[in-house]
């Protein structure tokens, strides 16, 4: 269970050289999240939608413990992500969208062995875990290939395998198909829906720009705009009301006020 309470996140902005003289004590800040409160139940599958810069990735990184909110608090299964960082992270898997988040001169298997060790696996358990994960994402045949030789789809599969190391209760995927062609994107979506989400208590949080992916993988939508959550609805309600996710998306994007579906 995830509870976010009135989260604000501000990033410092670089100053111009002249401002170090004219206003040395004034700092510029960009507010990425504005008073976000959220309650996510175990087993929820939520698509975070919104334009670039809406605050989706920032919110997911706070849930994953990679960022601390400027003010407000966030607990994962009762553990504060800032004060009890390691306990909170224990049941959270983070699938980064960054292809460069692996060691390019190591094989896929060597990469996974390394990251699984950091997640407290050792000895025979470590090797079994890594082999199981390679099977899970369909990389068994390419496990001994150097990571630099992987295709984008294979890299993303390895990122999912890494996110699954601790068999997390909560799996966060930040734009998992962003750089993929339609066939590879479909492959990744199949892995997520058929193999990753076999545990119905597992919470899936997916930031995505693909409405088809959101509809296929999730049952709820958290719509973010300019750092705030403007709507949180079930996809079935949205479809009942607006026929398609696309209609709903356009309506929110074009609306100036806070939106309620």
């Amino acid at each position: 269970m995830i509870i976010a309470d009135n989260i604000f996140m501000q990033y410092p902005m670089p100053k111009k050289y002249i401002e170090y003289i004219t206003s040395p004590f004034r700092s510029h800040k960009f507010t990425a999240l504005k008073g976000v409160s959220l309650n996510i139940e175990a087993g929820d599958r939520i698509a975070f939608l919104g334009t670039n810069g809406a605050g989706k990735t920032t919110l997911l990184k706070i849930i994953g413990g990679l960022l601390y909110p400027t003010t407000g608090s966030l607990t994962v299964n009762g553990h504060d992500t800032k004060k009890e960082s390691l306990k909170a992270k224990k049941k959270v898997g983070f699938v980064l969208n960054e292809e460069r988040s692996f060691y390019w001169r190591l094989t896929g298997r060597q990469n996974l062995l390394f990251f699984a060790s950091l997640d407290n696996f050792s000895g025979d358990g470590l090797h079994k875990k890594v082999d199981d994960l390679m099977d899970l994402v369909g990389l068994q045949e390419a496990k001994d290939k150097i990571f630099a030789g992987y295709s984008s789809g294979m890299k993303q599969k390895l990122a999912i395998a890494r996110g699954m190391i601790s068999s997390p209760d909560i799996l966060i995927l930040d734009e998992p198909t962003r750089t993929l062609d339609p066939i590879s994107a479909d492959d990744i979506a199949s892995i997520i829906s058929k193999r990753v989400h076999v545990n119905k208590d597992r919470t899936l949080l997916i930031a995505t720009h693909s409405l088809a992916e959101a509809q296929r993988l999730c049952d709820k939508v958290c719509f973010m705009k300019k750092g705030a959550i403007v709507d949180f609805s079930s996809i079935s309600d949205i479809i009942d009301k607006y026929k398609t996710l696309e209609n709903y998306y356009k309506l929110i994007i074009n609306s100036d006020k806070n939106f309620e579906s």
């Binding site: 601390y68 460069r100 988040s101 692996f102 060691y103 001169r105 060790s117 950091l118 050792s122």
Partner: protein
């Protein structure tokens, strides 16, 4: 910190190191050339003529080899934590490391261990070459005091290294500690000449440069066989520097990581 995690870091870094074959050859064998350079410079300086060298046995080559070899090693100790942090930032792996279930401080520490072992091996290789082929004499060496001087020095320079890594997280580039250390140690630390020949005002500054005491203790224990009580001044200064700097550096690093996470700048470089 768990041993299997440390082994995972060592395996990772060793495999990556082996994959850069040319770098492996050049970093190992490149150490022989400075060694030979100082060996031949020594031929220009007749033994027993420099009064300031006499307390270390009189040989400029032996004096400089210890100075250069250990200054290089300690400089690595100061710079490696920030270098490892920056390598992972630039490789895009820092975020993946920090989202794991391993403490941030442990990650930074374990990321640097391979380099300590690798450079330590090079240091030993340099001394073996010097002993076997260049007449470097260790017959008087006091092993216990040498090891103690080395451990205390490492604690001091590891602390400065952790300060430096915190500096990298805050300033990204141009962190002050490593740069200050690198430039000051050869001038004020007595790496290639005894600090006794410096003018008084520079000599006064050299008293606050910890490498001065490290090199002094190492030279006297290796070349003259000084025991622990005979090196008590140098060792006490290193000991108190270590117990002051080490906890402070960890606190400062933790503060820098929290600041980076609060401001979202941890992954920026």
């Amino acid at each position: 910190m768990k041993l299997y995690k440390l082994l995972a870091f060592l395996k990772r870094d060793f495999k990556i190191f082996l994959s850069y074959k040319m770098a492996m050859i050049t970093t190992t064998f490149g150490t022989i050339f400075p060694l030979l350079t100082y060996f031949f410079i020594n031929k220009l300086i007749p033994e027993q003529t420099q009064e300031s060298l006499l307390q270390y046995g009189g040989s400029y080559f032996e004096f400089t080899l210890i100075g250069i070899a250990f200054t290089t090693y300690f400089t690595m100790a100061v710079q490696e934590f920030s270098a490892a942090t920056r390598r992972d930032q630039m490789a895009g792996c820092l975020e993946a490391l920090l989202s794991s279930q391993t403490d941030t401080k442990a990650i930074i520490f374990m990321s640097a261990v391979f380099k300590f072992i690798h450079n330590g091996t090079i240091l030993i290789f340099m001394f073996i070459v010097a002993i076997l082929f260049l007449g470097f004499d260790i017959s008087s060496m006091n092993i216990l005091s040498t090891i103690l001087a080395l451990i205390l020095s490492l604690l001091v320079f590891v602390s400065l290294g952790i300060f430096s890594a915190a500096g990298t997280i805050i300033f990204k580039k141009g962190e002050p500690f490593g740069i200050l250390f690198g430039t000051m140690s050869s001038l004020l630390g007595g790496a290639v000449f005894p600090v006794e020949i410096l003018p008084d005002w520079l000599k006064a500054i050299s008293y606050v440069v910890p490498i001065r005491y490290s090199l002094d203790a190492l030279r006297l224990s290796i070349l003259q066989g000084y025991s622990i009580p005979m090196l008590s001044n140098q060792l006490m200064i290193l000991f108190f520097s270590a117990i002051l700097l080490f906890p402070l550096s960890l606190k400062f690093f933790e503060w820098a990581v929290n600041k980076g996470k609060r401001e979202g700048t941890l992954m920026q470089y």
